[in-house]
C-alpha cells in the first residue's frame, strides 16, 4: 500500500471534523509543520510466541485504507512501524503491556501494528501517560479464530493533543475486544474502527471517558459489517464535569448488502455532572440488507439520578461520597472489563480526584 502524497488539511466544515477544535491541534494537521516519526513504545518482558520489533514503514505498510486526515498524515510521515506479533496458537494468561517512553511538546507520529495469529489468545494493554502532541495509526490484524483483547489507557497530562485511529481487521471466527479509557489530555480524538475479513467474527468496542474543564474528548466508532454473520457490540460511557468540558461520541455502524446475518447493538450513555458541560452523542446505523439478526442503538445523556443519591444519603452516606459512589457505579460495567484491580483502582481514583477538583 503506497503512502498518500496529496494530503489536504481539514477545514472544519467536514462532517468528520465539525466537532473538533482544529485550532488546538498544535500543528498535527498543518502540512507546513514537519512531524517527528517516533517509536516510543516499550514492551516489557515478552513471553514465548510473542515478538516486538521496529521495522521500516516501507517494509511493513498499513493493512487498511483510511480517509482520516490525521491517519494519512501519520502514514505520510512515519518512517518506522512498531510490530507486536503473537504467533499462531499462542495462548497468554498475562497481558502484554506496551508503555510509551516520555514524549514531549514536539508533534510526533507513530505507527503500531499488532498481529494476532491463528487461534491465538492474548490481552494487550497500551498505556499512555505524561504529555504529548501525537498522531498515531494503530492497526490490529486478527487471523482466523484469534481472540485479541486490547485495553488502551489515555491517562495523559492536561496539555496533551492526541489524534489516533485504532483499526481492527477481524478474521474468520475471531474475536476482538477493545476497551478505550480516556481521562486525560487537552484534545483527544480517537477513531476505534473495525472491518471484517472473514465470516463469524465478533467485535466488542467499549469505552469510558471523563472530561473536566476545557477538555475535548472525542471518540468516533466506525464498524463496517462487510462480511456475513459478523457481530458487534459498542458500549461507551462518559461523564462530564466543569466549565466547557466537552465530549463527542459518534457511532457509525454500516451493514453492507453482503453482510447478512449481522448482529449489532451500540450504546452510549453520558452523565452531565455540572452545568457548562456539553456531550454530543450521535449514533448512525446504515443498513443495506434486511437479512440480519439484529441492529439497534441507544443514546442517553442525563444528570445525576436524585433518587439514587437520596437512597444512599438516607443510609448516612454524605452527599459527596454518594455522588462518587454513583459515578463509580456508572463506570463499573466498563472498568470491570479491565480485570486488573490495580489499574481499575488507579483510574477510579483519578476520576475521584478530578471530581473533587471541579467540586462536583
Amino acid at each position: 500500500m503506497s503512502l498518500p502524497t496529496n494530503y489536504l488539511a481539514p477545514s472544519g466544515r467536514e462532517e468528520a471534523w465539525r466537532f473538533t477544535p482544529l485550532n488546538r491541534l498544535a500543528g498535527l494537521l498543518d502540512a507546513s509543520v514537519s512531524l517527528t516519526s517516533t517509536n516510543s513504545f516499550i514492551a516489557g518482558n515478552l513471553p514465548t510466541g510473542v515478538s516486538f520489533e521496529v521495522k521500516k514503514s516501507s517494509d511493513l505498510g498499513p493493512i487498511s485504507t483510511t480517509t482520516d486526515e490525521a491517519t494519512l498524515r501519520v502514514r505520510q510521515s512515519a518512517i518506522e512501524v512498531s510490530h507486536l506479533s503473537i504467533s499462531d496458537g499462542t495462548e497468554l494468561s498475562a497481558p502484554i503491556v506496551l508503555k510509551r517512553s516520555v514524549l514531549g511538546g514536539t508533534p510526533e507520529v507513530s505507527r503500531l501494528l499488532i498481529s494476532a495469529g491463528v487461534n491465538s489468545h492474548a490481552t494487550v494493554i497500551i498505556e499512555n501517560a505524561g504529555e504529548a502532541v501525537l498522531a498515531e495509526d494503530i492497526e490490529f490484524s486478527l487471523a482466523t479464530g484469534a481472540t485479541l483483547n486490547v485495553i488502551s489507557l489515555q491517562e495523559w497530562g492536561p496539555k496533551t493533543i492526541h489524534l489516533g485511529r485504532s483499526h481492527a481487521v477481524i478474521g474468520k471466527d475471531a474475536t476482538f475486544n477493545s476497551l478505550i479509557v480516556t481521562i486525560g489530555g487537552s484534545v483527544v480524538r480517537l477513531l476505534p474502527t473495525v472491518e471484517y475479513s472473514g465470516p463469524g467474527a465478533s467485535a466488542d468496542l467499549s469505552g469510558l471517558y471523563f472530561a473536566t474543564d476545557g477538555q475535548h474528548l472525542e471518540h468516533r466508532m466506525h464498524v463496517d459489517h462487510n462480511i456475513p454473520n459478523g457481530k458487534s457490540r459498542v458500549n461507551y460511557k462518559g461523564a462530564l464535569a466543569g466549565d466547557k468540558a466537552r465530549t463527542v461520541w459518534i457511532g457509525d455502524v454500516y451493514i453492507r448488502a453482503a453482510a447478512e446475518g449481522t448482529d449489532t447493538y451500540e450504546l452510549n450513555r453520558n452523565l452531565l455532572l455540572t452545568d457548562g458541560a456539553r456531550a454530543d452523542s450521535v449514533p448512525n446505523l446504515e443498513i443495506e440488507t434486511g437479512e440480519i439478526v439484529g441492529a439497534g442503538h441507544a443514546s442517553t445523556t442525563g444528570r445525576f439520578d436524585d433518587e439514587q443519591l437520596f437512597y444512599l444519603e438516607s443510609r448516612g452516606i454524605p452527599a459527596d461520597i454518594a455522588r462518587r459512589l454513583v459515578i463509580r457505579g456508572f463506570f463499573q460495567e466498563i472498568v470491570s472489563k479491565i480485570k486488573d484491580e490495580e489499574i481499575e483502582e488507579r483510574l477510579m481514583s483519578r476520576i475521584d480526584g478530578e471530581l473533587e477538583k471541579v467540586g462536583a
Binding site: 439520578d305 436524585d306 433518587e307 439514587q308 437520596f310 437512597y311 444512599l312 444519603e313 438516607s314 443510609r315 448516612g316 452516606i317 454524605p318 452527599a319 461520597i321 454518594a322 459512589l325 454513583v326 463509580r328 457505579g329 456508572f330 463506570f331 463499573q332 460495567e333
Partner: protein
C-alpha cells in the same frame, strides 16, 4: 430512651398545577421500644410522612416540626438524619447500578458508626444478618437493588436495619409485594432488631396482615393528610372488618 416527636407537620409538593398540600397537620410521638402502626387508604399521605421525615428533597415542609430528643430533624441534611438515628425502609428501594451490596453496606456502616467497621468482625456480622434473613451469600456481590425481586429488595432493607442499628425505623409499606414466607422472614427480622435494640418503629401499612407478625402498641388511622383516629391494637381489627370507608369523605 429516645423520642421522635412530630408536631403539626404540614408538607407540600410542587405539581404542574401548583403547590399541593399533602400533610395537613400531623401530630405523632414515638418513644423507644414502641411500635406505632400508621394505617390508611392509598393517597392519604402516609408515604409523604415517611419521606418528609427522611428529608426527601421533593417535599417542602410548610409548617410544624420534627424533633429527635429535642433536636430539630428538619434542619438536618439527609445523611445527618440517618446518623442521628433515623432509618427509612422504602416501599420502592432504588437501584444503584455498579455499586455492590458489600461496598454499599460498608460505606453506610462507616458513615453511621463514624469509623470503618473492623474487617474481621464486619464480614461475620453481615453474613450472620444475611443468613437470618434467608439471603444467599452471592447477594453481597450484586449491585444494590438491581434486578432484585420485590422480596429481595425488602429483605435488603431489613438487612440494613439490622446492620445500621437506628433509634427509630420508619417502615413504609414493607409488607407490600411480599408472599407469606417473605413477610414472616422480614417481620422476624424487624422483631429481632427491636428485641436487641429497643428500636422505635413507625409501621406504615395499608393492610392489617403484617400486624399479625409485628405487634403494634398503637394504631393510628391516617386520612387526607392527618391522623384521624388513634387507638390500641383493637383498632386494627376494626379496620380489618370495616375498611377505611368511614374516614374517607367524598
Amino acid at each position: 430512651m429516645s423520642t421522635l416527636e412530630i408536631k403539626n407537620l404540614h408538607v407540600s409538593v410542587t405539581t404542574d398545577a401548583g403547590d399541593k398540600e399533602i400533610l395537613r397537620g400531623v401530630d405523632l410521638t414515638i418513644k423507644s421500644g414502641q411500635t406505632h402502626a400508621i394505617m390508611g387508604p392509598n393517597g392519604s399521605g402516609k408515604s409523604t410522612l415517611a419521606y418528609s421525615i427522611a428529608g426527601h428533597p421533593k417535599y417542602a415542609i410548610t409548617g410544624g416540626s420534627v424533633t429527635l430528643d429535642g433536636t430539630d430533624v428538619l434542619e438536618m441534611t439527609v445523611d445527618e438524619r440517618a446518623k442521628a438515628g433515623l432509618f427509612l425502609a422504602m416501599q420502592y428501594p432504588v437501584e444503584v447500578p455498579g455499586v455492590s451490596v458489600t461496598n454499599f453496606l460498608r460505606t453506610a456502616a462507616t458513615a453511621i458508626r463514624g469509623e470503618a467497621p473492623k474487617v474481621r468482625t464486619w464480614v461475620g456480622e453481615v453474613k450472620e444478618a444475611m443468613a437470618a434473613l434467608n439471603m444467599d451469600s452471592n447477594f453481597a456481590e450484586r449491585s444494590v437493588n438491581e434486578g432484585f425481586s420485590g422480596g429481595e429488595k425488602k429483605r435488603h432493607e431489613i438487612l440494613q436495619l439490622e446492620l445500621l442499628k437506628p433509634k427509630f425505623a420508619i417502615l413504609d409499606e414493607t409488607d407490600s409485594g411480599l408472599d407469606v414466607d417473605a413477610l414472616r422472614i422480614v417481620s422476624e427480622g424487624v422483631n429481632r432488631v427491636k428485641s436487641n435494640s429497643d428500636l422505635g418503629i413507625m409501621l406504615i401499612t395499608h393492610y392489617t396482615r403484617i400486624l399479625r407478625y409485628i405487634k403494634p402498641d398503637f394504631v393510628h388511622v391516617f386520612a387526607a393528610g392527618r391522623i384521624v383516629e388513634e387507638g390500641g391494637p383493637e383498632l386494627a381489627d376494626k379496620l380489618e372488618e370495616k375498611g377505611y370507608a368511614e374516614y374517607v369523605t367524598a
